[in-house]
Symmetry: C2
Subunit: 256 residues, 2 copies
């Protein structure tokens, strides 16, 4: 029964790490209502969140917080609230989407090692897409932009031990934990067997758990990662599932 | 007066750092009697060492030590002792001579950065001609041979701060201290104005002070060193002075 597989997937993905309601809601808006002019009506939002076992009060608190942070804007249309991303959060969501919804087909494979003058500027290097391997030593894709004063050397053949040292920095354990529920969903959920509400929920949970790991590390070329990299396997599964369950039309989501 | 300049040079070079008699004597054999079959007779050795203000007893102690270490072999010819390098020490001396007497004309300028798997093997890396810049990070000439398991990256344009960080590792202060006496000798000592004994002493002191710094660090390409590198300026002066005062024929050295 597909409902079983759906429930199983939902439970497993909801159980991964600590899921903050406001963060889950930000993912939902990012996946379902990222398009310009797109909004989610209160009853639809409540139904989706309820389907993810979030109580109405927690939804109200999260909405309040997101509005306060300038992430969500709400308007009244008659007795119904309409919620949408703000111009700022839409821009930020779009930027993150480039990585979240990127194709898992490997592109760039060349990389660089960057040596900085001192141990400062580490946060800036990470923001620029570099992984800090050692104090003052960073690894990144060949197109990542290092500060001009740094020494940047073109990458060569990567020894196995370097792959092994990079893996934990790229959250290998987190990806390994995400793999089984994704694989199960991929093996058991069939296209067309979920209604729009279930589809919205599945997509939200997939994107949420994927992005929670993905956005905590820079994008490194495959050459720097071990063979069979779990992050890549997760990417392939997320990509396949999102394609199998396309974004529903918001108006088709039946409210409770 | 050249004798003045000679005395000044001798005093300045003898005053540099702690000059161990056995080490000074090893330098003397390396410069004066490196050729196969070459030996220094006891009276000549005593005269040269006396000219360097070493007392006869200290000469005997040093000779005893060098014989004990297998560095010097002594034979009696009638009442005269003849001292020479052993086959082993001659081989080691020849190897060191390649760097000590190398031409100061810059050759290789390409370099590499090597990343090792862990912090072990640092001593082996230094022996292989690498400078340890950071734990696990080494710099060396492009022809230096890193262990196969290391990551070796071709060098690029060197930023100024890297030059500054390399300088102390390449004993910049020591070279800066050696520069003034070398410059003074170069400016004031004229070719042909020293007798064979003085020439042997000058060469010994030049080579000794030069090698004491040189052999404590690997040979790095000029690209990795700051402009006007004092080590290079010392090299040019030592090279010019050794050429101006060629190795004397041992038999021409007049004993006291």
């Amino acid at each position: 029964m597909p409902a079983d597989a759906y429930d199983q997937t939902k439970t497993a993905l909801l159980a991964m790490g600590r899921q903050r309601v406001w963060s889950l809601m930000a993912t939902l808006f990012g996946d379902l209502a990222q398009a310009e002019g797109s909004a989610i009506d209160g009853p639809v939002l409540s139904s989706i969140m309820a389907e993810m076992d979030v109580r109405p009060e927690a939804v109200r608190v999260a909405l309040y917080r997101l509005r306060n942070d300038g992430w969500i804007t709400s308007e009244k249309h008659g007795r119904t609230g309409r919620h949408a991303l703000t111009p700022t959060s839409r821009t930020e969501t779009r930027r993150a989407s480039k990585r979240i919804y990127a194709s898992p087909v490997a592109q760039l494979d060349s990389w660089q090692l960057v040596l900085s003058e001192d141990t400062e500027g580490s946060a800036a290097m990470i923001r620029s897409g570099f992984v800090p391997l050692l104090p003052r030593v960073y690894l990144g894709g060949a197109t990542a932009l290092a500060p001009a004063e740094c020494l940047a050397l073109k990458g060569a053949t990567v020894p196995d031990w370097l792959h092994s040292q990079i893996a934990p920095l790229m959250l290998e354990a987190e990806y390994n934990a995400l793999l089984p529920p994704l694989q199960n969903a991929h093996d058991r959920l069939e296209a067309g067997q979920l209604n729009p509400l279930q589809t919205a929920v599945l997509r939200c949970l997939l994107v949420h758990n994927w992005r929670r790991i993905l956005l905590r590390h820079p994008a490194l070329p495959r050459a720097l990662l071990p063979d069979g990299w779990p992050g890549h396997r997760c990417h392939v599964l997320v990509d396949a599932l999102l394609a199998r369950f396309p974004r529903p039309v918001i108006e088709d989501i039946v409210t409770i």
